[in-house]
């Protein structure tokens, strides 16, 4: 079952490289996405057995992130099929500098997209830290060609930065793996493989100095990939230059994969009773991300970069939540789902806007509500959701995290205040951008085609899900989140 989840997209990806016809390739993409999502859904009902010496197993945290990934990928692949049929085999004029450019071959795009899904799936099911590392590096490598889909020099610059910064970060995470291997001794002083269950069993025997050194390197390595400030520098570039559907997957799924990597580390520290050490790091990185993203969101002129910085902000919120113990962790996990849904929706909508207005500049986009009522309305809904306005899901999760901070008392009130203040600043910054884009009269130069069903349906579904999560968190999901949160927060 687990093998099927990982290998199906990998094989389909290799197949896509070989297939001759575009229609066939798109069929493979959507078909694989549907089967993958169906398999994931089955996993909720029947828990798959661990394989490969328990190196691959689907635990609660893995299931949560697998579901997010699989669901997003399904919607994104539907959007991508529509997107590709528009983009296929054309020469394009660069919207910023007027250069001619073409796109990467579609076979490469779809093949990499499917390999990307395979790598992300492997992240969620890996219990062995080495395998986890291989998978996370795999996501970087599979997604680099996707960012360089539009072949011009800005996307090239973004790809290079993404590749180099993430690869270096992740190489440090590999070192952390070796450190963890050294730290992993049982009570009789023998080394054992760095598999999560074994590490939890022997958590109290682990060698503390090596464990702490490993932890710091993990935070540097996976933190880079997750986009936590000050290691986020690749993120705005990659997100703004990639095709919108890829931005949606990067924000909604890849950042979560790195987050999951760090959650595994947190689980060890909780098991060893040393969570105070990691908590301080989580909170420091979280606050830094919030503050830095708030600074860059104010006065941002490019709406895709705006969304990218919003991702940095939300990763900060996740980190902050984990740093606040079990209650905060519950909020953080809920927020991870909410953020994935909203951010994917916003990036897909940004793709629609880009296709219509041919500009990424906020001040050049006017009158969305008049020009494309559905996209415009969803864009406004997405804005309300991402800034944490009721009744959408993020309100609930942000509120949970805030409450967790206030419940801890004393010193944490300061953190809660910073949290609220940055959220306020970001609300103002995003409101200026989004409201300006939605209102007013559209200029005549916009391309007057109606958005196709392919481009409207996925964001619509995502929006509906966020709204639903805001009104009512379903029982099985709440139980799952509680179960994971208890492994992340320790005894309260």
């Amino acid at each position: 079952m687990i093998f099927a989840l990982v290998l199906l997209p990998a094989l389909a990806g290799l197949l896509a490289f070989a297939l001759p016809k575009p229609a066939l390739r798109r069929g493979v993409l959507i078909g694989t996405a549907i089967i993958h999502a169906a398999l994931t859904a089955i996993c909720w009902k029947f828990s798959p057995a661990p394989t490969l010496n328990e190196w691959l197993a689907l635990d609660a945290a893995g299931l949560l992130f697998l579901s997010i990934t699989s669901g997003l990928f399904l919607l994104a692949s539907i959007y991508a099929a529509g997107y590709l049929s528009q983009e296929a085999n054309r020469k394009f004029t660069d919207i910023e500098e007027g250069l001619l450019f073409d796109n990467a071959p579609e076979a490469v795009f779809i093949g990499c997209l499917l390999l990307f899904l395979s790598a992300m799936t492997l992240v969620t099911v890996s219990q062995h830290f080495g395998l986890l590392w291989v998978a996370i590096e795999g996501t970087t490598l599979a997604s680099a060609p996707l960012i360089y889909f539009h072949r011009h020099h800005r996307s090239l610059e973004a790809t290079w930065k993404y590749l180099l910064i993430c690869s270096v970060g992740i190489a440090l995470a590999l070192l952390a793996n070796f450190f963890l291997g050294v730290a992993a001794v049982n009570s009789s002083g023998e080394n054992f493989p760095i598999v999560l269950p074994a590490l939890l069993v022997h958590a109290h025997d682990l060698q503390t100095p090596w464990l702490k050194a490993a932890c710091i390197l993990f935070f540097v390595g996976y933190g880079t990939k997750m986009g936590l400030a000050p290691l986020h520098t690749w993120l705005p570039d990659a997100h703004s230059e990639a095709p919108s559907v890829i931005s949606a997957l990067l924000s909604g799924a890849v950042l979560n994969c790195a987050f999951l990597g760090l959650l595994r580390v947190q689980q060890i520290f909780v098991g060893a009773g040393m969570e105070q050490f990691t908590r301080d790091i989580w909170i420091a990185l979280g606050v830094a991300s919030l503050v830095i993203s708030a600074i860059f969101i104010i006065g941002q002129t490019d709406y895709k970069r705006l969304l990218a910085y919003s991702s940095v902000e939300n990763m900060g919120i996740l980190a902050l939540g984990i740093g606040l113990g079990a209650a905060g962790a519950f909020g953080a996990l809920l927020h991870a789902i909410n953020h994935s849904l909203v951010k994917a929706m916003l990036f897909l909508l940004a793709g629609n806007i880009l296709a219509r207005y041919q500009t990424k500049n906020i001040s050049n986009v006017r009158g969305l509500l008049n020009a494309t009522p559905v996209t415009g309305a969803l864009w406004l809904a997405g804005f309300l959701a991402i800034t944490g306005t009721p009744p959408f899901g993020p309100f609930l999760s942000k509120f949970t995290i805030l409450k967790a901070a206030l419940d801890l008392g004393h010193g944490y009130v300061v953190i809660a205040t910073i949290f609220l203040a940055t959220l306020g600043i970001i609300f103002v910054g995003m409101a200026t951008a989004f409201l300006g884009m939605a209102q007013g009269e559209p200029e005549k130069v916009t391309i007057a085609t109606n958005d196709s069903k392919w481009q409207i349906a996925p964001p619509l579904v995502l929006g509906a899900m966020v709204l639903w999560l805001g009104i009512n968190v379903p029982e099985p999901l709440a139980n799952l989140l509680k179960q994971i949160a208890s492994t992340l927060g320790g005894a309260q």
Binding site: H153, R154, W160, A171, F178, V182, P193
Partner: protein, 213 residues
């Protein structure tokens, strides 16, 4: 024992050479030599318990790092038709001195960690960490994309050194995965480099500063 030490010294020397060298071609050869030396490290370091795992690992490492990468990178250089590094952000003599300082810091750091008994040599951990820092230094201080890739390889070699010497219980599957990842990483970087060359007419990353806030 003495072989391990010699390889480790070779590692430091090659890193210092890279820090102080301006020629791209010789830098590629130095990195290749480093790759081969590292491939031999597990074989010579664990000679008493030689197994298929170490044999495969050594063969794979030497093939990829000693033969495939240099060939691939030389191709990239030929495409770019430039062999001299452009003046880096940090000069070569300054880089060399920084390298020695980094070496000192690495030794100091490793004195503060309790070393496990499985360690092949007491030099292994500090030299591995030195390689990692040296690689980072190369990536930060050099402007050309190719030099940055070499820096990444040096960094990766450092991590690998640590892995070979310190984590005896690691498995073939994971090591093969790591090797595969590095291979694909360099492959993708090489292709990107080719595109950078085509797009900007050179592989100098200094010009890539359009995306910023």
């Amino acid at each position: 024992m003495i072989f391990t030490k010699l390889i480790l010294v070779l590692l430091v020397l090659t890193n210092l050479k890279l820090l102080g060298s301006s020629r791209v071609g010789s830098s590629i050869r130095v990195v290749a030599a480093q790759g081969i030396a590292l491939g031999l490290l597990p074989v010579l370091g664990h000679a008493h318990e030689l197994s298929i795992r170490f044999g495969l690992l050594a063969a794979g490492t030497i093939a990829i790092k000693g033969i495939v990468f240099p060939w691939f990178l030389f191709r990239a250089v030929r495409e770019a038709e430039v062999t001299r590094e452009i003046e880096p952000y940090v000069g070569y003599v300054a880089s060399l001195i920084s390298g020695v300082a980094i070496l000192a810091v690495s030794f100091w750091m490793c004195m503060r960690l309790p070393m496990p008994a499985s360690l092949a040599s007491s030099w292994l951990a500090p030299i591995a960490i030195f390689s990692i820092f040296a690689g980072l230094f190369l990536i930060i201080s050099r402007k050309r994309a190719l030099s940055q890739v070499l820096g990444f390889l040096v960094l990766e070699n450092g991590v690998y050194t640590f892995g070979v010497g310190l984590a005896p219980q690691s498995s073939l599957l994971v090591e093969a995965g790591v090797l595969l990842d590095v291979f694909v990483a360099v492959f993708v970087m090489g292709i990107t480099m080719f595109h950078i060359n085509r797009e900007f007419d050179h592989i100098n990353t200094e010009q890539m500063s359009q995306l910023k806030d």
